[in-house]
């Protein structure tokens, strides 16, 4: 028998980026809010403080800051004929855990999508015709345009404290920025980060080749900064411990550094940690939610938290899982195309080249997660899909982001993996390697989807979510094209040795090596209830008082790291709640 808590106006499930945004914006409306967080509380001090956080084994390898599969995980299969097996320890992707969520341990790469990516199906249709869309690709338009989203991107950049240099301000192209970005209304809040040696080499090679290099936009403070909530960030010292770590010196953009301390001061906001939401409870007619049931780890009991509004803001995989076990929409069936929940799961396609220079000193431990110089010359809006034979694109980047030796020991091809040859190799090559990466789009397909596993259960007895996912030819052709373009550029950089790593056609998904934590889709946005789970305001088509945040809304993944779009959509959603929903709760579309 569940304990029952006092009713709130809003219950927020998961206190990461989007839960924090919803929390502060709706608390400012005077609403009574409780946020439920599965993991621990986390603050810069003591959890992320120096020197304890500078510990590669504990955080980089044993993944102390991440979700524990013992608590929650998925099963994975590569096609419908395989039996899905549990993702027993983390490898390919690393969902976050605790207050701040993945916003604490990200690299800080901050992008807006291209305008074309928000309306990709229409863009393809207008330029090449729908005939080029491969069989089985669920190519779609977002139900909201870049132009509608622009003010929310700009606002999130101010909140998150982004460093960069604009390339297109209201249509005016600016030297040194990204000329292929969509028009921005403002410059970045902070100037770009400093340029390391490897990225300077890449910059010069790109210039010589006629490309358009620019400093990576970074959720890292290049100077001291105060955001619209009065939160202060200090300039980064390039410590090289961003990805997988909490920032020890208030420089990396995170819920902790940009929102939470302001939010926690508000008397109408409360948060409870070690509180894992098990189910969204629905009214008898299924048209609204009445609240959520959660597991209170300290009390070891189930608790019902009633609320007038439910905001689902946990990690993408966990949002979809919670919606599936709660029956918030019909599960997607890839055979018939019917149903919506779990549809359009997508990921990220990446590849790259490593360059080894005997006589160069790169000091790879000097850097940030978002360090580097980028080009967008091979991005979605620069590629002739009809001619190239794929839909998509990639941005390229070069910049040291950590020199942590357990994981970041790049060695030339042919170096033995152990023994005297390995030991000689690490002495010879550590600090003398750099890399160029292509970070590419990933489309949505009927075959890549999420549903409930028939066999494996979590510690609460709920079915695990099952991921059916494999690489598809379209995206593999895209990354192979990047290979044909990147290798000649790398050759102009005259390294002693180069090494390429790009997936080949036919590559099978391997859950072991880390790839990206850019899992997208599953509760996608859509123009109508037949095609997706939420409308353009991320409001559930089935239950108007349920709003769902995060990358699960992505119709297909973009070529960029997702946080910019995730935060922009969150601000777009809370603005609609504030200005349209609160005065008259109803379906907004």
């Amino acid at each position: 028998m569940a304990r029952q808590e006092k009713k709130k106006d809003v219950v927020i499930v998961g206190l990461g980026w989007t839960g924090s945004i919803a929390g502060i914006e709706l608390a400012r409306e005077g609403l009574e809010i409780v946020a439920l967080e599965r993991g621990r509380d986390q603050n810069t001090v003591p959890e992320f403080k120096y020197p304890n956080q500078i510990d590669e084994l504990k955080y980089g390898v044993r993944l102390e800051n991440m979700q524990k599969p013992a608590q929650q995980t998925v099963t994975v299969r590569r096609n419908g004929d395989e039996t899905a097996l549990p993702y027993r320890h983390l490898g390919s992707f690393l969902p976050g855990n605790g207050v701040g969520g993945a916003g604490t341990h990200w690299n800080g790469l901050f992008w807006r999508p291209q305008a074309e990516e928000m309306r990709l199906r229409s863009y393809v249709k207008e330029n090449w015709g729908e005939g080029i869309i491969p069989e089985g690709m669920n190519l779609g338009d977002y139900p909201v345009s870049y132009e509608e989203m622009e003010p929310y991107f700009a606002h999130f950049e101010k909140v998150a404290g982004i460093s960069g240099q604009a390339g297109n301000v209201n249509g005016e192209i600016r030297e040194g920025g990204n000329p292929f970005e969509a028009p921005r209304s403002t410059e970045y809040p902070m100037p770009p980060m400093a340029r390391t040696y490897d990225s300077a080499k890449f910059h010069d090679a790109c210039k010589a080749a006629g490309y358009h290099p620019f400093q990576a936009p970074a959720g890292i403070a290049s100077t001291s900064y105060v955001n619209p909530y009065g939160m202060q960030m200090g300039p980064c010292n390039y410590c090289g411990f961003c990805e997988r770590y909490g920032c020890y010196q208030y420089s990396k953009s995170s819920p902790q550094t940009t929102i939470l301390d302001a939010l926690k001061r508000m008397p109408n906001f409360e948060y409870r940690t070690h509180s894992e939401v098990l189910k969204v409870e629905l009214a008898a007619d299924g048209k609204t939610a009445t609240g959520v049931t959660y597991w209170d780890e300290a009390a070891q009991e189930e608790v019902f938290q009633p609320a007038d509004m439910v905001i689902l803001s946990s990690y993408q995989l966990n949002n979809v899982h919670l919606m599936l076990v709660s029956g918030l929409a019909a599960p997607y069936d890839p055979a018939t195309g019917e149903g919506v929940l779990g549809k359009n799961y997508a990921y990220q396609m990446t590849g790259g080249v490593s360059l080894y220079y005997r006589d160069a000193n790169f000091n790879p431990f000097v850097g940030t997660g978002a360090n580097g110089v980028c080009i967008d010359d091979f991005s979605v809006n620069q590629n002739d899909f009809g001619k190239l034979g794929f839909i998509g694109g990639a941005y390229w980047r070069s910049g040291t982001f950590n020199g942590q030796p357990i994981r970041s020991m790049s060695l030339p091809p042919g170096t033995p993996s152990w023994g005297a040859g390995w030991k000689e190799g690490i002495g010879e090559w550590y600090g003398h390697a750099m890399s160029i990466g292509a970070h590419g789009s990933h489309m949505s397909y009927a075959n890549n989807h999420l549903d409930l596993d028939p066999t494996y259960r979590d510690r609460h007895g709920r079915p695990l979510m099952r991921m059916t996912f494999n690489w598809q030819d379209n995206d593999l052709r895209m990354i192979q094209y990047m290979k044909t373009q990147m290798e000649p550029l790398a050759a102009t950089m005259q390294a002693d040795i180069t090494k390429s790593s790009f997936k080949d056609i036919g590559a099978q998904y391997d859950v072991r090596p880390y790839q990206t934590t850019h899992n997208t889709g599953g509760h996608i946005m859509s123009e109508n209830a037949r095609e997706g789970v939420v409308n353009k305001y991320c409001q559930s088509w089935g239950q108007h008082n349920v709003f769902v945040m995060g990358a699960g809304n992505f119709v297909q993944n973009t070529q960029y790291n997702p946080t910019g779009l995730v935060g922009g959509l969150a601000y777009h959603t809370v603005d609609a709640i504030r200005t349209q929903y609160l005065s008259n709760p109803r379906p907004l579309v």
């Binding site: 320890h89 390391t196 410590c239 152990w418 030991k423």
Partner: protein, 233 residues
């Protein structure tokens, strides 16, 4: 750049506390070399390994990262101590992992860890199985083989030519990964003794403050490492 031996210099202290944070005591920034030597590996009091297992990991890690040539070997770095402590702890017990059945240990490797065994259990069962294979093949257990035969046996294990049950298939992979972890992790975990591996490759450890360095292009960073507890080397 060198401090005088035995004299804690002001500059040395600032180097050790690179972020400008005051550590709790100057004594913590003492040079690693000033410390009492640790207990020799053959007298080390084990937390997890049996005597036979200890003999194996001493011999195996000494081939995975040998002592000859530049830089420390696994034994100088005290990697076996690291392994023992890791297997006695949360990692060895797979405490954070999803270990519910059913299990399919014979699944394709790309499907990830699918054995029902924890890392500690894999070591416990795989070491005697591999030793038995060595005895069959070379007439002696692994620890008693010549270095050349040990290298050949480890190569066979890596390539899957020394057959182990599917449940033990991950053994070589975790043995090698854990050995490198113990070589490069902060010394608080028992390995990377005196930060020798960091000195060897030029990684500054927990310094983690390089504000003026991004734009010093192609200039080798000059300072040695510090550890989480404030040791310098």
């Amino acid at each position: 750049m060198t401090d005088l031996p035995g004299y804690p210099s002001r500059r040395g202290f600032l180097k050790a506390t690179a972020a400008g944070f005051a550590l709790s005591g100057v004594a913590m920034s003492a040079k690693a070399a000033d410390k009492t030597p640790p207990v020799p590996l053959d007298q080390y009091e084990r937390s997890y390994f049996t005597a036979e297992e200890w003999a194996f990991v001493m011999a195996a890690t000494a081939r995975l990262i040998p002592s000859e040539g530049n830089g420390p070997g696994a034994l100088e770095a005290r990697v076996p101590v690291f392994l023992d402590l890791q297997l006695a702890g949360r990692y060895g017990a797979a405490s954070d992992w999803y270990m519910e059945g059913p299990h399919d240990p014979g699944a394709e490797p790309a499907r990830g860890w699918q054995t029902p065994l924890t890392p500690a259990e894999v070591y416990r069962q795989a070491i005697p199985a591999f030793d038995a294979w060595c005895a069959d093949t070379y007439g002696k257990g692994f620890a008693a083989l010549s270095p050349q035969d040990q290298d050949a046996a480890l190569s066979a294990l890596q390539k899957g030519e020394a057959p182990l049950a599917p449940e033990l298939r991950e053994f070589f992979g975790i043995l090698l990964a854990n050995t490198k972890e113990g070589y490069f992790a902060d010394p608080i975990y028992g390995g990377n003794h005196d930060m020798q591996s960091w000195v060897y490759i030029g990684f500054p450890g927990a310094r983690a403050a390089f504000r003026e360095w991004p734009e010093r292009h192609n200039v080798k960073y000059p300072l040695g490492p510090v550890s989480i507890t404030g040791e310098r080397a």
